[in-house]
């Protein structure tokens, strides 16, 4: 059941909420159990087999986590470590089988020229997200960051349907205290904020992302069929898809945050106007923030620590202050960055395109870090110079991100190659590749590409507009007009405080209704979220 479907909006969600609030009046325990049951139903809706696949994995993870906890309390560190490694291996193998076996067989056929055929393995929905969350939980139990948990707590944490399929990727320690505190009663404040988040998300997805896709998809279709792409069409493919995926995924996230809020639960922020980022480092602190947080905490940091220790043991200098050697940069920064982004690429999908996409971002991040360390230190004296540098940063970042998104979107690298040829003007300056398949006017293009671009580049985002009501976990304003204080988010979260601020008023109710109305009108066709395939 998609969040943007009539059956979800008008049947499933209202029914689940009504029963939840009724149960909440008499028994919180049963209200929370109801969420687990509803989540299983939600997950089984596509294909009941999904539940049969995921349930054993949840059970095994729970048993392993319990064992880990016991071993930890007994102080048997070696055994605990072994269980942790076994648990991680199990989850990676589980994900690997369902997600990558088709790709690996194909890759083996490419390399060895063989013709092996594998019966198509079904891909349980959201398996990448669910797996990462379970791995994080095992690591947290091992590290003592999770003290105690019951089977019900664990199921609630893993299966909570607002974030089950495509995140945000949450930690047990930030979710469970909320569930334990939740009143499970109807709260008009939470519902008002929830409806607003959901309406913003719906309009982003149904009205913007799906419209933009109508211009973008034909170009990729042409390119993959071997057609050539003109300069303008190439850039529309790149920028257009970047806008599409931003509005699609951040729209989904807004809806997820909104649905969770109905239950009185705040999910962590996942997007903070990423297309306004002034560097690639900044981009990853604003784009899919919970994935960045996961990769940093569980891959990059441990790797950097391990490498630094190894280097120190060899008597080589660390990487700081006056000791900035090229060797240390390569070993302690470039290597872990590339590896982390490679993992990120592979996690996104089984295909060469995702591997190239991940490594490319690793290269971008390394270059960005290298520039920060070795580039000229500019002294910017006045505001105008700073603004100019920032604008240049935003444009360069956007060009890098959009180019990488071409690879992300293309069914294969040949298709990306054709789009890139177009972007470099090798096949004329025009719209060839787009005009041939759809009849579009320049005015339409201007509205549907430039319009969303303007929104993404200039307008405040959903969380900023709702900032006075903690729309996402930790997204708070400490006083009137003060900048939001974010737990682990970027520090420049609200570089400039936007004037637009949601409040429970008649005017905002009318505005949100209008937004929801537009979203519902455009709900027409079935349109899956891009990130639900991961």
């Amino acid at each position: 059941m998609l969040f943007n479907s009539y059956e979800f909006i008008f049947a499933f969600l209202p029914a689940v909420l009504v029963v939840f609030f009724v149960l909440g009046k008499t028994s919180r325990v049963w209200a929370l159990r109801w969420i687990i049951a509803a989540s299983l139903f939600f997950y089984a809706w596509w294909n009941p087999v999904n539940v049969l696949i995921i349930a054993p994995s949840v059970a095994i993870n729970f048993v392993l986590a319990r064992a880990l906890q016991r071993l930890r309390k007994r102080g048997s560190r070696g055994a605990a470590r072994a269980v942790l490694l076994a648990g991680i291996a199990f989850n990676v193998a589980f994900l690997g089988y369902f997600k990558y076996s088709n790709f690996l067989v194909g890759a083996a056929n490419d390399v060895f020229g063989t013709q092996m055929v594998l019966a198509r393995v079904i891909l349980p929905l959201g398996i990448s997200f669910i797996t990462f969350q379970k791995i994080a939980f095992l690591i947290d139990v091992h590290a003592g960051r999770v003290e105690s948990f019951t089977l019900q707590d664990y199921c609630l944490f893993v299966l909570f349907f607002p974030q089950l399929i495509a995140g945000p990727i949450v930690h047990y320690r930030e979710m469970m205290p909320q569930f334990h505190r939740a009143s499970c009663r109807f709260d008009k404040g939470d519902v008002a904020v929830g409806v607003t988040l959901f309406a913003f998300g719906l309009v982003k997805k149904a009205f913007i992302a799906d419209r933009v896709a109508a211009f973008v998809s034909p170009i990729y279709g042409q390119a993959s069929a071997g057609g050539s792409v003109g300069l303008a069409a190439g850039w529309i493919a790149a920028i257009g898809f970047t806008l599409q995926i931003y509005f699609d995924f951040s729209g989904y996230t807004d809806m997820a945050l909104g649905i969770a809020r109905f239950f009185g639960i705040r999910l962590p922020p996942n997007f903070n106007s990423p297309l306004q980022a002034s560097s690639i480092i900044d981009f990853w602190l604003r784009w899919h923030m919970t994935l960045t947080r996961f990769l940093t905490a569980y891959i990059y940091n441990p790797l950097a620590l391990w490498l630094t220790r190894r280097r120190a043991a060899r008597g080589l200098p660390a990487f700081a202050g006056r000791n900035k050697s090229v060797g240390a940069f390569l070993e302690l920064l470039m290597f872990p960055t590339l590896l982390t982004m490679l993992v990120s690429g592979i996690w996104h999908g089984a295909g060469y395109t995702f591997i190239v996409w991940g490594v490319l971002h690793g290269v971008f991040l390394t270059a960005n870090n290298g520039w920060r360390l070795a580039g000229p230190k500019l002294r910017l004296d006045n505001g105008a110079q700073k603004r100019l540098m920032r604008t240049a940063g935003v444009i360069i970042t956007l060009a890098c991100v959009a180019s990488s998104m071409v690879i992300f979107r293309s069914p294969n690298l040949k298709t990306s190659g054709r789009i890139f040829q177009g972007m470099f003007g090798l096949h004329g300056l025009g719209l060839s590749g787009l005009k041939s398949s759809v009849d579009v006017s320049l005015a339409q293009l201007a509205v549907w590409i430039a319009g969303p671009a303007l929104v993404a580049l200039v307008c405040p985002n959903t969380l900023q507009i709702l900032r006075r009501y903690e729309p996402a976990l930790g997204w708070k304003v400490s006083g009137p007009g003060a900048a939001p204080v974010l737990g682990s988010g970027p520090r420049d979260a609200a570089t400039a405080e936007p004037r637009l601020a949601w409040k429970p008023s008649l005017a905002w109710a009318a505005a949100v209704s209008a937004i929801a109305w537009i979203g519902l009108i455009y709900l027409g066709g079935r349109s899956e979220f891009l990130y639900w395939q991961f």
Binding site: I139, N301, T308, A312, A320, N323, L332, L333, R491
Partner: protein, 73 residues
Amino acid sequence: MTQILRDLLADDSIVLAMETKRDQVPGWDSLAYVSFIVAVEIKFGLKFGVAEVESFQNVGAIVQRICEILPKQ
């Protein structure tokens, strides 16, 4: 520890207090932080857990942890 960070960042004006946080010291970025932790580990002959390293809120938390580990060894 102040001396370790001074050497690392090549800045003799650094003075660490128990409540000093990373963002209060110019240049003490995440990479320099990892280098600092490893230098501290070598100096005191101990090893922190990966999760601990991330959880240290300020210099005092690191000192406290060292005081916990050392008597056990």
